[in-house]
């Protein structure tokens, strides 16, 4: 998959930025506690490849990647079987001492990653455009297996509401609630690439279904 040649389309830019090892990408800032300003009107050279700055972009190409303050290290729990006195087994939970990243916009175990972006540094009544960009299948082998087995295959072969879309739907609901409270004039745009598109479409469709 090659990089975009230029940053002329804001939705394509945001979909690309959701990936790892891409120009002007978001994952390095995922654990930030403050916003990060990104300017798509400027050229970027990454791994020796040039992406030209975008033209005619909303807000002159400047967006603010907002932090996911709910992101934290969640302990991974497991269970072991203990035989019961009167036969059978009992599942006893224990901590594996390992953790994974979990928050409203990320679930490492489920292979779900999304980023919330705004056109103002602070989400308030001056905010007009906000974006939720959803990453497709992840690079890491375990999570890409997650993605492929539980999402792509499910979607291709059946009409299941895929696990990642449920998480995206929760994120969507929470962000809309936040917009209603803080930025009533803002619009929420949802974007993604590949599996990110499937996840977005299912999450939005479910949202409307639930609203009806």
């Amino acid at each position: 998959m090659s990089n975009l040649k230029n940053f002329n389309n804001i939705y394509a830019n945001l979909a690309e930025s959701a990936y790892n090892t891409r120009p002007k990408n978001f994952p390095p800032f995922a654990k930030n506690r403050e916003f990060k300003e990104i300017n798509y009107s400027q050229d970027e050279t990454y791994r020796g490849e040039l992406t030209k700055g975008g033209k005619n972009l909303p807000n002159k190409g400047v967006v603010y990647l907002q932090p996911d303050k709910t992101l934290h290290a969640e302990p991974i729990k497991s269970t072991y079987s203990v035989p019961k006195v009167n036969g059978g087994y009992e599942q006893v939970p224990y901590d594996t001492l390992k953790t994974y990243q979990k928050g409203l916009l990320a679930d490492e175990k489920a292979g779900f990653n999304a980023y919330f972006v705004t056109d103002t540094a602070k989400l308030d009544e001056t905010t007009r455009q906000t974006y939720l960009t959803i990453r497709s299948s992840d690079g890491a082998s375990i999570s890409s297996l997650n993605d492929w087995v539980s999402n792509d295959a499910n979607f291709t072969l059946t009409d299941t509401y895929i696990p990642q879309a449920k998480l995206a739907n929760q994120a969507l609901q929470e962000k809309i609630r936040e917009l209603n409270a803080k930025a009533p004039d803002a619009v929420l745009n949802v974007t993604g690439h590949s599996l990110g598109t499937i996840v977005s479409a299912q999450a939005v469709a479910r949202f409307y279904q639930e609203m009806a």
């Binding site: 916003f35 300003e37 540094a121 299948s137």
Partner: protein
């Protein structure tokens, strides 16, 4: 050898073997490290030591690529190694690759952050210090009452 001596020897030897084996398992041997450590891969500490040895070279490369940077204060503990599998919608395409990232501050600015990304050499498993990308060069700034990171200009 008489049968009685043979039996006696066996009776004496079995506990000796068992006790010696048990002690070796409990106390460990100098060779146990071969069971627990993968000598084909450098550890995080070894990677940090390697970078520390090349600190001047790393800083000079960064200064050469971006003239706004006059000094870098590396945060060695921020070193992270990540492996990626290129894929198209979940189907693996091409070989896996590994990158090393390290953060720090620059120009002795307290509220600054720099993040540099190095590809890892497949044969040595150490970073290629010449082919790198500065993925973040920001300073903390307040915009409309909200604090965040903006590109350093």
């Amino acid at each position: 050898m008489k049968k009685r001596i043979k039996i006696l020897l066996i009776i004496i030897l079995i506990p000796i073997v068992l006790i010696t084996g048990g002690l070796l398992m409990k106390l460990g041997t100098p060779f146990d490290i071969f069971l627990t450590k993968d000598f084909t891969k450098p550890t995080k500490t070894e990677q940090i030591d390697y970078l520390k040895e090349h600190e001047e070279e790393m800083t000079n490369f960064v200064k050469k690529q971006n003239s706004k940077v006059t000094s870098v204060q590396w945060d060695w503990d921020s070193l992270e190694i990540q492996e990626f599998q290129p894929n198209a919608g979940g189907i693996p395409t091409g070989e896996k690759y590994t990158i090393l990232t390290i953060k720090g501050k620059f120009n002795k600015i307290d509220t600054s952050t720099i993040m540099v990304e190095y590809p890892i050499y497949k044969h040595t498993l150490y970073p290629n210090l010449k082919r790198f990308d500065i993925v973040d060069l920001s300073v903390l700034k307040e915009i409309d009452g909200s604090k965040g990171w903006v590109d350093y200009e």
